[in-house]
């Protein structure tokens, strides 16, 4: 059963990472560009989330095919940390718009929170399981 669960974790992380990218680029993106071409601060939060999503996707893809136990632990840790970063970017690290009714508050931020928490949990639980197994071995 242990061999079967390894790619499953990587696939879950990959799906979440791709969801982050697709979401930020479509239904859960920041507020749009203004008529005069200027952008709000939430635009940069969206850009940051996109970048993190790309990195997370690459790491998750490697995780799917990686066989070395130590590498797997490292990759799970990395993606879990990226999940925490996703949670922190909108609102905490990068300001969003002033009105709570704007799309960056009502859709982008809760979406990022959900995906970020999921990434952190899946990566964190996988890492913890592997460390415990290592300790008891």
């Amino acid at each position: 059963m242990e061999n079967k669960s390894q790619p499953v974790v990587g696939v879950i992380l990959l799906v979440l990472s791709l969801l982050l990218i697709v979401g930020v680029l479509s239904f859960a993106g920041p507020c749009g560009v203004h008529d005069d071409g200027s952008v709000s601060s939430c635009f940069w939060a969206g850009r940051a989330l996109l970048g993190i999503g790309v990195v997370s996707t690459v790491l998750s893809l490697v995780r799917v095919f990686e066989r070395d136990e130590g590498e797997r632990r490292g990759l799970s840790l990395a993606v879990a940390c990226l999940g925490v970063l996703v949670v922190c970017v909108p609102g905490a690290l990068i300001d969003l718009c002033m009105m709570q009714t704007m799309r960056c508050h009502t859709v982008m931020r809760p979406f990022a929170l959900g995906v970020g928490i999921a990434l952190a949990l899946v990566g964190g639980i996988d890492l913890t399981r592997r460390l415990l197994k290592l300790r008891h071995a």
């Binding site: 939430c42 002033m98 809760p110």
Partner: protein, 399 residues
């Protein structure tokens, strides 16, 4: 390994089956709790709106196309402004049956450092106001002074920071409690401040006023009717005898909201009921089929010396674990979704929407958990009863 640990072991050995059942229960609980919270939030929002309306009658200039503009501002959250001469305040106050009056002033900002979205600015007379002032008292406890604003819950601004309207800097002195209404998107100030802002708007070339002197205008007159008089009669009298204004019962504005809310609540309620019936049916059938597949397993336990009620307890315990885990997952998903996306939901519904308090949500969550556990026990009770009647010797002989 003994009969106490047997149920957990069974669940672990069949992860796909266990996960499937948990997901089913989670879906059931998410739907029930989510639907209940949506309906509860709509009811809360309506109650909040009715409380915020405060006045029995709202008097606005006839030229402001009356009710529509008022609804836009107070209910739909579309910033706007209109003005009439200040003398109308006294005229309305003198109408028989009017207990007290208070003027309000509306202004919409163009850009206030908030993503080019206009913000509704509402000016009140702290001495006479009886709709907004009590709400400000609750959060701030003092009268607003010149240059000070209290902002609604949806405006991102720290207390003590500055917000700029029409070239005038105002200090945020209070952030008001969430009401789930359009007033959460507004900023509130006193008469002097809004007069300054109106002057500022004129300076910036925004033609909010036509011929009026900024010091002699009001937007609406809020009216409280004497309890001994009929509100409709007073409304009709004002409309007949006070020229140039239109009087509207605040109840008339909330009635439309109430019926929309009732319609949506009904739809949500039906959807929740459908999901509930489907999920419980599928759960029942799944547990029944699984129970039948495990008849031999239970017969062997009986042969080894397990009494029939202990065997039934194994099945019920398995289902309780699945129900508990599924329920907790479903409740977590529903709560996170509601807390995270309540803003988006409010905008999509276009109605006042105020999440219940934390204790209320906790009670709803506990009720949902209890319901899931009850469903788990009841659906397994049928299978458990069948097991209790199993003729172990016949089952094993058939091999």
């Amino acid at each position: 390994m003994n009969l106490k640990t047997y149920p957990l072991n069974s669940l672990r050995r069949h992860p796909a089956r266990t996960a499937g059942l948990c997901v089913l229960v989670a879906l059931l609980c998410s739907a029930v709790l989510g639907g209940s919270l949506v309906i509860g939030s709509l009811q809360n929002g309506l109650a909040s709106l009715e409380a915020r309306m405060g006045a029995d009658i709202l008097v606005a200039p006839k030229s402001a196309s009356t009710t529509t503009n008022l609804e836009d501002i107070l209910i739909n959250g579309i910033p706007g402004y209109f003005y009439m001469d200040k003398s109308y305040v006294d005229k309305v106050a003198q109408v028989e049956g009017v207990e007290r009056v208070s003027p309000q002033y509306y202004l919409a900002s163009v850009k206030a450092g908030c993503c080019s979205m206009p913000v509704q600015i509402i000016g009140i007379d702290p001495q006479t106001d009886f709709t907004i002032q009590p709400w400000i008292d609750h959060s701030y406890g003092k009268e607003l002074q010149r240059g000070e604003v209290a902002v609604g819950a949806n405006i991102t601004g720290q207390v003590g920071s500055t917000i700029r309207f029409y070239g005038r800097d105002c200090t945020i002195v209070a952030k008001l409690d969430n009401t789930g209404t359009a007033l959460d998107n507004a900023a509130f100030c006193d008469v002097q401040t809004i007069t300054d802002l109106i002057e500022g708007s004129v300076e910036q070339g925004i033609a909010v006023l036509t011929n009026n002197d900024p010091n002699n205008i009001v937007s609406t007159v809020q009216v409280k009717v004497d309890p001994d008089h009929n509100v409709q009669d007073v409304t009709d009298y004002i409309n007949l005898h006070v020229r140039g204004v239109k009087a509207v019962r605040s109840k008339a504005m909330t009635t439309g909201v109430a019926s929309s809310m009732a319609g949506i609540s009904r739809v949500v309620g039906i959807l929740v009921a459908v999901v509930w019936v489907l999920a419980v049916t599928v759960l029942f059938v799944a547990l029944w089929v699984l129970g039948r597949q495990r008849t031999k397993e239970f017969a062997v336990l009986r042969v080894l010396g397990a009494p029939s009620n202990a065997v039934a307890r194994v099945l019920v315990t398995e289902n309780l674990i699945v129900s508990a885990v599924g329920a907790l997952a479903g409740i977590a998903v529903a709560l996170l979704a509601m807390l995270g996306f309540s803003g988006a939901l409010e905008q999509a519904l276009g109605l006042p929407f105020l999440l219940p308090s934390v204790p209320s949500m906790a009670i709803w969550a506990l009720l949902t958990l209890a319901m899931a556990l009850a469903v788990g026990v009841l659906t397994s009770a049928f299978a458990a009863r069948r097991i209790a009647k199993v003729d172990a010797s016949q089952i094993l002989r058939d091999e």
